[in-house]
């Protein structure tokens, strides 16, 4: 701006650096802990500089497993989490796009009724309906299945509303033009609406993938079988090793592994993601 590089300029950077330290320090500790061996992690004081066993720890966690879940290599949990997060993200997007399409562009009987039914589910997150949802899933025989992990979380009023907002900003002229050219509703949906909401879908995908990946309470309730553990709750189980001290070097290595897929998704879709959050006009 108009000022010279002055006191405030350096103050800004000081604040940014401080912020990075606050955010980064626990991360750094995690990384450092993942690179030492068991003996070093049991000693005081806690190491602040990395050791030399980072890759051994990673490999051991990935292929041999940790703690109580020893017989369960981490890659199985990662796989379960991946399946769960992907099916939640895709399921939510497909259902929301279609229902928003129906609500915005079709005039059918009970339209407003269905709209309000969707609205009401906004007030019923999993935490509120723990018991009934558990009951339903148990009666359907979906405990300890990947289906049971994802299906109860797929319905999403938020995403439906978001797509409704997006569709409402699409100019009517486009619909009219498509009609003139003889396009049916599905063709209009596929060739006009979907390309127009591409960035929104991408942004939503990132958010929903991370939402699904981070699910904690639900997997905790319905999975007792080690083959179905997701990574987030699997880490919790590793901490529960009663008869021995937690193997911090392996647990922290697992957390680093657990963070990798969300990182890849965000990095891969960052461009679209930021666009989808900020741009508004079509």
């Amino acid at each position: 701006m108009v000022e010279e590089k002055s006191f405030s300029y350096y103050l800004n950077h000081l604040i940014i650096i401080f912020g990075i330290l606050v955010i980064g320090f626990p991360l750094w500790i995690t990384f450092v802990a993942a690179s030492h061996d068991m003996v070093r992690m049991a000693q005081a004081p806690l190491p602040l500089w990395p050791g030399d066993r980072f890759f051994e720890n990673m490999a051991q966690a990935l292929f041999q497993g940790v703690g109580n879940a020893r017989e369960q290599p981490v890659w199985i949990m990662l796989f379960n989490s991946l399946i769960m997060a992907l099916s939640i993200a895709f399921g939510k997007i497909v259902i929301s796009v279609l229902s928003a399409f129906a609500i915005v562009y079709f005039d059918f009987r009970f339209r407003m009724f269905f709209f309000w039914m969707i609205f009401i589910t906004l007030m019923l997150p999993v935490e509120v309906r723990i018991l009934p949802t558990f009951e339903v899933v148990a009666n359907l025989g979906m405990l300890n299945t990947r289906l049971g992990l994802s299906v109860p979380l797929i319905a999403s009023a938020t995403a439906t509303f978001m797509f409704r907002q997006v569709f409402l900003t699409v100019p009517d002229e486009l619909l009219e033009a498509a009609r003139m050219d003889g396009a049916g509703p599905l063709r209009f949906f596929k060739d006009i609406l979907l390309p127009l909401s591409r960035t929104n879908i991408a942004a939503l995908f990132v958010i929903l993938f991370i939402y699904g990946w981070n699910q904690y309470l639900w997997p905790l309730l319905i999975t007792t079988d080690k083959d179905m553990y997701t990574i987030v709750m699997g880490i919790k189980q590793m901490l529960e090793a009663v008869e021995e001290a937690p193997e911090w070097h392996l647990i922290t290595a697992t957390t680093l592994l657990a963070q990798l897929p969300p990182v890849l998704v965000v990095v891969g879709m960052q461009h679209l993601f930021v666009k989808g959050l900020t741009e508004t006009e079509k």
Partner: protein, 205 residues
């Protein structure tokens, strides 16, 4: 604001890194790690959180409910920093640069520009984040509580969602748990109403 965005490399890297942290594991793992250390009575290098601190506080969150609560709050807020940061960045980028330039021409310093232009224009974002963070504090802190304190010591950190889970699935008091769910639902409805009543409405500049 614009000064804040000058080094684009650093900032975009920061946005990226911060969003990566959305995971729950990191904080509860590292906090739990620190916590274990404290319990073992081991002195920790940076002297941040252990034993008797310089101020003479006898830190023990396994016995002291307030300390346990502080630990949970620290861990939970740490996790939300990146999320809030991202939305503030997006909000600030939406503020027309010409407004800030005009104020600078009129001789307003950086602090004055922030308080009289950027901050008021950000108020929708701030309010949105306020509601989102409250919802987060109600519902998503379950993981941290469950992993770090298990609601203890003597129920000092027993948040409502944890209690619903604990009574229903550990204590097997299904009726009591369901009744608490209804209270929880009332709270959710309250938040939803606030969200729709105030957030959807744009603040008029």
């Amino acid at each position: 604001m614009s000064e804040l965005l000058e080094p684009p490399g650093v900032i975009s890297a920061l946005v990226l890194i911060s969003f990566l942290l959305v995971g729950k594991f990191f904080n509860f793992i590292s906090y739990r790690l620190m916590k274990e250390r404290i319990i073992a009575g081991q002195q920790w290098d940076l002297n941040i959180c252990c034993g008797k601190t310089d101020a003479g506080v006898d830190w023990n969150h396994r016995m002291n409910g307030n300390h346990a609560m502080i630990l949970i709050i620290l861990a939970a807020s740490w996790k939300q920093i990146s999320y809030n940061f991202l939305f503030f960045i997006a909000g600030m980028q939406a503020i027309p640069r010409s407004l800030i330039e005009a104020a600078a021409m009129d001789g307003a310093g950086p602090f004055r520009r922030f308080w009289t232009i950027v901050f008021p224009l950000l108020s929708p974002t701030t309010f949105f984040l306020l509601v989102v963070n409250m919802v987060y504090a109600f519902f998503d802190t379950f993981g941290i509580v469950h992993a770090v304190t298990k609601g203890g010591p003597s129920q000092a950190t027993q948040i409502l969602v944890y209690k619903v889970y604990n009574d229903g699935f550990i204590g097997l008091d299904l009726g009591g748990s369901a009744a608490q769910s209804v209270i929880l639902m009332a709270i959710v409805i309250g938040f939803t109403v606030i969200q729709f009543k105030y957030i959807e409405r744009r603040v008029i500049y």
